[in-house]
Structure formats: C-alpha cells, structure tokens
C-alpha cells in the first residue's frame, strides 16, 4: 500500500486514510462553508433586512443556534473542571476532544454573532461602553474571554503535532502550558458558568415579557441557573456523540466505552438535577408569574408552530426520558441506548433555547396584539450550516493530525 503523502504529519503510531479520501470527505463541509460565507456576505452587504427577522422577532435562528451550540459546547468547560480541578482521571482520554468541540462551538458562535449585530464594527463597544446592569454585557465579556481560554487550551494540543513538537521551544511551551492548565480550566469554568448563566439571564430579566420573565436569587433570575445546568447536562452528551461519530466514520475505537459511559452518567445526573429545578421553575411560572401578568398558561401557546407540544417534547421526550436512560447503568451501558439518550438530550437543550428565544417573542403581550410567525430565511440557515461544517472541518483536521485520543493506539493497534 502506497504511503499517504502527509503520513509524516500523522500522530505517532496511528493509521489514517489517504489524503485524497480525506480531501473528498472535506468537499461537502467546504461547500457548506462557502454557502454560509455567501449568506454572510449578503447580510453584511445589504443588512439584516435580508434575514427573516423583523420588529417582532428581534431574535431568531441566529440567537437560537448560538445558544444551542454554546450549550452543547459546554462539555469543554465542565469536563475540564472535572478533569483538572476535581481530578477525575478517568476523563483524560476524552478531555482533548471536549476542548476541540468547545473551541469550534464557541468560535462558530462568534462567527454568527458578528452577523447578529446590526453594527458589527461597533461590537467592541461592549467593552468600551459597558452597561454593568445588562446581562448581555456579561455575555459579551465572558464569551470573548472564554474563547481566548479555549484557544489557550487548544494550543498545546496543536504544538504536540508530531512535526511541530520537534521544535524544542514549542515542545517546552506545550509542556509548560499543560502544567498551568488547571488554572485555565478554573478560569474557563468560571467564565463559562457565568456566560451560560447570563445567556439564560438575558431572557429571565425581561420583566415585561411574561413568557420569559422569572423571579430569581439576588440579581439572577432562575433561568440563569437553569441555563448553566442544562448546558452541563447536554455538553458531555454532545462530546459523546461526536466521539461516536468519529469512531463510526473512521472505523476505529477512540476511547474505552467506560469513558463514554461515565460521560453519560455525568450528563444524566446533571440532567436529573436540571429537570428537578426546571419543573419547579415551570410550576412557579404557571402559578405565579403568568397570573400576576394577567395571563394564563394556555395563552402562551398557539396553533402548531407555537403549540404546547414543543414544551412537552422538550421536558418529557427530550428531558425525562433521556435522564432516566442515562442514570440507569444497564441502559447506559448499551451503546445504542447511550446514543439515543444523548441525541434526545442534545435535541432537548436546543429546543429549550428555541422556545425561550422565539416563542418568548411570538407571544403577544398587549391584549390587542396578535401572534406572529417567524420563518427563518436562507441567509439564516446557511450560516448555521456553515458553523456545523466548520466544526466538521476543525474536528477532521484535528483528528487527522493531532494526538487527540491517547487511547487510540492501544485500542486499535496491538
């Protein structure tokens, strides 16, 4: 068998497909990236009027997608916290992947955020003219700085690439960065917790929007804590899904199953805790917030697009069911069940972000106002697919050239 032209760049002792096959694999994501860039160009050139957003739906698919990928990327900070701060060594085989997933999720979200602003060139105003009362200021601060932390966490992995690591300076830099990584894991956990919370808090503080408004603890509405909990409940599952996808596509095992099972157990436990508070929150909302605003539960839903089925799907089908599946060891230890539960969990958190973003704005607040329907335009879909394609490219390149999975050799090459 002819040697691949880029074999010298592969991690030590592993096999990869031919470069041609790899490049063919990247064609579809590259085209999706291109499509997304075209959409971005259209929006930047002609303005946000090219999207499906309007004066009713100031927030739509962009924000929903941002919130979803940021929640799914939470595996990075939470696994980092468990690995580096709480010293759960069993997570070592998968922690590199969580960093990469977190990196692509956050950098992808930042790509979309540039389009989300009507005046993207003024995005630095968040630092220059900060309103300390705004949850969004907290988001701008934490999300920017946390992306820097993720880059710092990602860099040592890049420097461990076989050829780069031969450079003494890069070798020592990577080593020393590893030594201080618990510090960055701690900073990352702090920043990420706060911005995950602030993203939820953004909606909870909108006291004139009964669908979204929540009471809370001190300055934080309950949605602040719910967003943190739901993110750490779904992030590990998303990492498991990505890991499994890599295994299926490459035909090799990357981590021992018990690592994935442990991730599932962590996610399941967090999901149970989240759901306990989510149900309490929903009850308080129905019984307290809504009547105080002169609204009933039924008034919060309308027709098919904004029907109650959304909420029940989120809480029961994509909440209670995966939570049960993940906490029962015998179920979790069957890979197909773990995958189904992880998928449901990830769909649930994405659905939650959609409901809290779009439905919150669709509900008419003035008694004489009417329901509006939001339909995303292609200029909103394309950048979302662009981020997914970007993720595929980042993960594919990382897997091919970086030592992502320390167990890969042991599990595949005797």
């Amino acid at each position: 068998m002819a040697k691949a032209i880029d074999q010298a760049l592969w991690p030590e002792g592993v096999e990869r497909c031919s470069l041609t096959k790899f490049l063919l694999w990247l064609v579809v994501p590259a085209l999706l990236m291109l499509w997304g860039l075209v959409a971005a160009g259209v929006v930047f050139w002609y303005g946000l009027g090219m999207t499906g957003l309007n004066n009713y739906f100031a927030f739509g698919l962009y924000i929903t997608f941002d919130l979803a990928v940021i929640a799914l990327g939470a595996g990075a900070f939470f696994t980092g916290l468990l690995r580096y701060i709480l010293k759960i060594e069993a997570l070592v085989p998968i922690v590199n992947l969580t960093v990469i997933v977190g990196f692509f999720c956050y950098s992808g979200a930042m790509l979309i955020l540039t389009m989300e602003l009507g005046q993207p060139l003024r995005s630095w105003f968040g630092f220059w003219h900060p309103n300390v009362h705004s949850m969004l200021t907290e988001v701008i601060f934490c999300i920017s700085v946390y992306l820097s932390v993720l880059i710092i966490e990602y860099i040592p992995l890049v420097f461990e690439q076989k050829q780069l690591n031969k450079v003494p300076f890069l070798h020592h830099l990577a080593h020393n960065m590893h030594v201080v990584m618990p510090l960055f894991a701690g900073i990352g956990a702090f920043l990420s917790t706060f911005h995950q919370g602030s993203l939820g808090g953004m909606y909870g503080v909108m006291f004139a929007r009964p669908f979204a408004y929540r009471e809370g603890f001190f300055i934080w509405p309950w949605t602040f804590f719910l967003f943190v909990l739901s993110a750490v409940a779904s992030g590990p599952c998303f990492t498991v899904l990505i890991c499994t996808a890599i295994e299926k596509i490459s035909g090799k095992r990357m981590v021992e199953y018990r690592v994935k099972s442990l991730m599932g157990k962590i996610a399941g436990t967090m999901l149970c805790i989240y759901l306990f508070f989510k149900f309490l929150d929903t009850w308080a909302w129905i019984d307290s917030i809504l009547p105080a605003a002169g609204n009933s539960f039924d008034q919060m839903f309308n027709g098919l697009v904004y029907g109650k089925w959304l909420m029940f799907t989120e809480l029961i089908v994509c909440g209670v069911i995966p939570a049960i599946m993940l906490v029962i060891p015998s179920v979790r230890k069957r890979e197909s069940m773990l995958i189904i539960a992880s998928l449901l969990n990830c769909v649930g958190v994405s659905l939650n972000r959609y409901i809290i973003t779009v439905q919150a704005l669709a509900v008419p607040v003035m008694p004489f106002d009417s329901w509006q329907v939001y339909v995303p335009a292609w200029t909103e879909w394309a950048p979302s697919f662009m981020v997914l394609a970007y993720g595929v490219i980042v993960i594919s390149l990382s897997y091919r050239y970086l030592p992502v999975f320390p167990q890969e050799r042991k599990l595949n090459y005797k």
Binding site: G47, N55, G118, S134, V205, F207, A208, A293, V365
Partner: protein, 263 residues
Amino acid sequence: MSVQREFHTKWGMVIDLDKCTGCGACMVACQVENNIAPTPDASDMTRVLTWMLVYKLENKQKFPNYDVAYLPRPCMQCENPSCVPVCPVVATTKDEEGGIVSQIYPRCIGCRYCMAACPYHVRYFNWFDPQWPAGMEKTLTPFSSTRPRGVVEKCHFCHHRFMAAKEKARATGGEPMKLAEDAYIPACVEACPTGALIFGNLKDPTHQVAKLSHSKNAKRLLERLGGKPQVYYMSKRQWVLDMLDNDLGDGSHGGVTGGGNHG
C-alpha cells in the same frame, strides 16, 4: 440592584381614546418631523418604522353594540423601562431632564435586545439603509438626525423640540427647567385635529396632563408588568379601559410582577 431614578420634570402624554378618530395625522407628523425614511415595502407591517402607531380596538360585539376605538401608541417613556437596563452599551437611558427614554444612535450596536425586552413594540430596527426618493430629501428637517442601517430607533417625544424650547426659554429670560405648558409639545400632539393627545409635565400641577393622569378614567397600558409608562390613556368606555391590560377576569390574581432592573 439599580435604583429607579426620579426626575424633577416628567414629560408625559395623556391620550383621550374617546376623542381619537384614528385619522393617522399623528403618525404622519411623526414621520415627517423625525426624518423617518419611507420603507421600500410598506406592506410588510413587521418591518416598517412607525414611532407612533395607531391600533384599532374592537369590542368584538355584534351590531348594534359594536364599538371601535383607536389607540395611538408612541413610546411609553416608562418610569421603569424594560429596555434601558438590558442595553449592553448604554445606548439607551432615561434622560436626566424630563425622564424621556433616549436613544444614542451612534452608540447602538444593533443587538436588538431592547426590542425583545419592550412589550409595546415601540423600538424599531433599521433593517436596510434609509433611502429617500429623489427630491424627497428636501423634506428632511435639520433638527433631527437621520439613522443608519443596523441601529434601533424610537420615539423620544421629539426631544429636539424640548431642546429648542429650553433654548428659547434661556434666550427670553425664562426658566428652561420650568417650561410653560405649550412651550414644548411633540409633533404628533401638535398635529392631532381632535385634541386627543395632550402633553406636558406630569409633575407640574398646573399642566393639564398632571390632572388628567389622575382621572378615574385614566389608565396606563399593561400596568401589571411594572414598566410604569409616562403615557396615560383615557376613556369613559369600560371595555376600552379593559383592553389596556391583560386580566384573567377571575379576580383571584393580579398585582404588578416584580419588575426591576438587573444589576
């Protein structure tokens, strides 16, 4: 927690819904006065810019009991605005002289969080670059800035008229912070043919609005939500007053939600 700020002067409006005929003169006056560019597709009501918008209210009864009312809706200039604490860049704030909710266009980053937070839909986003048809640029007033694409804009009670009134008071030896009732009125109030819109200082007992706002027929829009608008609506028709707030109708609940500013 931030503290709700009180101002010596509190400019407000009282709108008599029994006098409003829904003619739309206020809307037109507002558009002209504030250099609001014509929307390319004005049929898309979710994209047009209408700082002052007239809603049609119906009592949903059949003839001969059918009744209709028209509700002009400027910015409510809330005492406890939902839009101000959420803005990440302090582009919007309560004005220190009169309690008017301001909007700094060159500061706005276009995140639209304020639009999401406002239940009255008074905040409008510039979805496209504003364009005036050839020749129409001659109608632009020099007293109000035009806004670029990508920023949020809103009614500010024709703040430039407030500035002009204060300047005039200073020039004529008057007290700029104690303007007479008619020294400063927004364009919509001036244009209203039936006198349904009344404007003044809610804290000055000599101003008509101060008295009218305490009328038993006066009510604010969505009072339950806690925004405390500085715009009051008046009507002698109970169904009209009922339309101003959501009400479960069973009397078992009520009261203002917590409201309040984050931070």
